[in-house]
Subunit: 277 residues, 4 copies
């Protein structure tokens, strides 16, 4: 039986769970999993429900919309694999990790292609029988390069773009075309060490823990909603190159964890924050 | 406005959330927090709801009972502080930690007294102006000693008993009088190193991580439902005495975390497991 | 037999370990523990050695100094308890934690007194039979207040000052009098959320992990050498007040861990970093 | 300049560091890194030194042997890549992770081949241009199957064998041929849940943390010296299948970490424990 994920983000009011679950009951659906959160400070109500047995999608949405107050966002999503595109530069650890998971059918996604501004990862990608798009930025302005990338993306039509260590900054124009659809892994424990070479910054500050952060990309660099973070302990004996090497394991694990949350439609965003069920 | 915690543990069936929240709505209550879990393997439904605005407790319970199937457990609990008793032997770290939290009003509880089979902690307890009951086990059988302890407990009437490093094994008779009311901290990452001197066992096995486990006490020693666990990294350089010292911080944090979960009525038990919201 | 800790911080050169351990051997000492670290980038050598059986302290230092290059720092420290003073404002969790450890003889220190700019912790301190100095900052300039604090410190002669949630900024004048002698706990994962109310900042940024940092205080606020850090996972459901509450456990554990490292003379500082053995 | 790792495991005595470093100095070597540990309980001394500038290997070993007491073990190892063989069954996460690291030149090793009792991973291995040996156990006794595996191993001559989720128990005969050369990843936080299907055991016990353990294989199953362990938090909502999936990330990270420690010659074993520098 087909399963759906129902995501509701609306103004909080008395009786919401009752009203929503009544509609779900009237539609003959069975609730398999249900999570709610009320942000009292913002007066918002968030609910994610996994349902089974739905017959009429259109009617359910209509019934929900007529019951909820006007300022709401309702998504009814089937559990079908999402189309995704990976973007990389030169490093292989995040890409390789995702490819191994993909081959092992651990990602509920179709990888439509991998785009890179370098070509050293072409062979790795091709060994997994996936299309590799090498779009060098040599001799191109940021705008010109992005246009080429965007034209490939238009052709691939991804629902989600994963920056798996793509080391170029995206323009506001680019980001605005894929709002809340771009997932990035930042190699520091944000908001520490924003900007370039966070491991070197961490080394120089003498921290005892380093980390990585997966976040949605918005128009302010490194400032989008955080999805997942993790850390590892380090000590004085590591050079910043060794910290960078040690950090790779955290980066790849955190990115994969965040991607799975996205693929399972577990994330609501509210301003620059995430609510995750 | 008075707040309640409603805990429902029942056989799963279609429409349960709807039916329960309809009753809550009809009673004019407002849901502030809500969690559900369905154990598909056991076909059980667990729901914990924080409500406000309830007028008629009796009627709510009656309405819920008439709607739910017969095999259920419904608890409607006010958020009033619970009466608790702490039991200790000689070590002060868990006891001291709880006393500091208590004085700082971080525990939603009334400590009715501290019982110990030694008297070295009397002064510490008394500096917090709490009653200390020294019940030596010298020259007593286990049965005789427990009788004395039980008679103090009868007088103090605790809702929860916290074994904060109480180093004597409790008899089945004792445990059965306070089923799911006794909380223990075990100084290992259960089920590793069951039994005596877990740190020495851990040292001898050469593990790289040690931990602590807070659990409800049932009739099988160290086998009750686990509430909370945490770990710390160690290496070859620690003697077992140093491991024991390092472990104290984990023990006290884990015990306090578990106690707070109990005091906030966040725990369901199902056989030898816990569901925690 | 008396034990010593020998700390050597010097320019790196070939044969250093051999030359130093030869002197230690000639002095009839036994090495119980030994750690070295070479900072290749800065060409510095750090060595901490625990020795037993030393007869002539003066002669050992003279022999070491004549062997090592001129730019060095040599400390020969007996394991005697250090005199410390704690400074607090209103919160009890760090103070209480240290007092419980102290009473349990877990700190190799003599607490000479507790200084506070509020008096709400007086009773807690006095229940541990320790002197409490209430120095209100009401109606005083920073300078005037610090003068009063400094005069108490002069009387108490601490080797180490522990800011156990002392919520006032210290002037450069104050800090310069106790260089590398002041230990602070900052309630964030530095360098994230420098400045006031880090939990509120963390809440607003929507981070998924919060932490605490113990560091030496130098003239730049929150910028001194980091000694210890730790973190806990959080999620969207916590208000910043709940994050603050959850953070207390990390704060107290990290502060105590750092203090123990200081009391065991395990820390070298190099510019704004620490080398810890 | 060629680098060496010198590993010394000997009976503790006064002046050992001095005597050893004197010899190293006389040989004109430069110490780049040095670690020692004295196991006071067993009266053993362990030292690992990274040296540069050695001219005469034979003479150094001779000089060391004539200085140390008779019961010792001295290894002088160049940093050359070690030949390794991976053994797998059906799961790809550990294997894939190691292959990606290998391709990215993160392992100081030569993978001579991958042996499996199934053939589903052949394609993955071949896409990395490595030899895959499919040795089915169908219709063979354990002895017969192992003989076939041993004959491939004899041909490949590995210095280290990595069981990267090889799900068959090795006989004592097999293990004895590669003493302290076989590295295994056990999918539980040993010594918890020894034996088959640890995730199911963990699920049934209701633990709140699961983990993985990398260890040397000795003659007692799951009882060899532990090299590395790590854990992740879980809760009641995970089925054992989901725990198994969540555990994969820990398994692969822990195995890779342990393998790197082996490849860098950082591990001493003493009975069933490890000393790791």
């Amino acid at each position: 039986m087909k399963k759906y994920r129902l995501l509701i983000d609306t103004i909080d009011q008395k009786g919401l769970i009752y009203k929503i679950t009544e509609i779900l009951y009237d539609h003959g659906t069975n609730i398999e999993k249900n999570n709610e959160f009320v942000d009292l400070a913002k007066n918002r109500f968030f609910m994610r429900t996994e349902i089974k047995g739905l017959v009429n999608e259109e009617k359910l949405l209509k019934d929900l919309r007529s019951t909820l107050s006007s300022h709401n966002k309702i998504d009814l999503i089937s559990g079908a694999p999402k189309d995704i595109v990976l973007m990389v530069t030169k490093e292989s650890h995040c890409l390789g990790d995702l490819l191994i998971r993909y081959q092992n059918q651990e990602l509920n996604a179709n990888i439509k292609g991998i785009i890179s501004n370098h070509n050293n990862l072409a062979e790795l990608v091709e060994s997994f029988s996936l299309p590799f798009f090498y779009i060098s930025h040599q001799d191109l302005s940021r705008e010109e390069h992005e246009e080429k990338v965007l034209s490939v993306l238009e052709q691939l039509q991804p629902e989600i773009i994963v920056l798996a260590k793509y080391m170029r900054i995206l323009s506001q124009n680019f980001v605005s075309k894929y709002e809340e659809k771009i997932l990035n892994i930042h190699h520091s424990f944000l908001p520490s060490f924003i900007g370039s070479n966070p491991y070197k910054q961490a080394y120089e500050r003498g921290v005892k823990i380093i980390g990585a952060t997966a976040h949605f990309v918005n128009e302010n660099l490194d400032d989008g909603p955080i999805i997942a973070q993790d850390v590892i302990n380090i000590d004085h004996s590591l050079s910043w190159m060794e910290m960078q090497k040690a950090g790779r394991d955290v980066e790849k694990i955190v990115l994969a964890r965040a991607l799975n949350l996205v693929l399972e439609d577990r994330i609501f965003t509210q301003e620059n924050k995430t609510i995750i069920f």
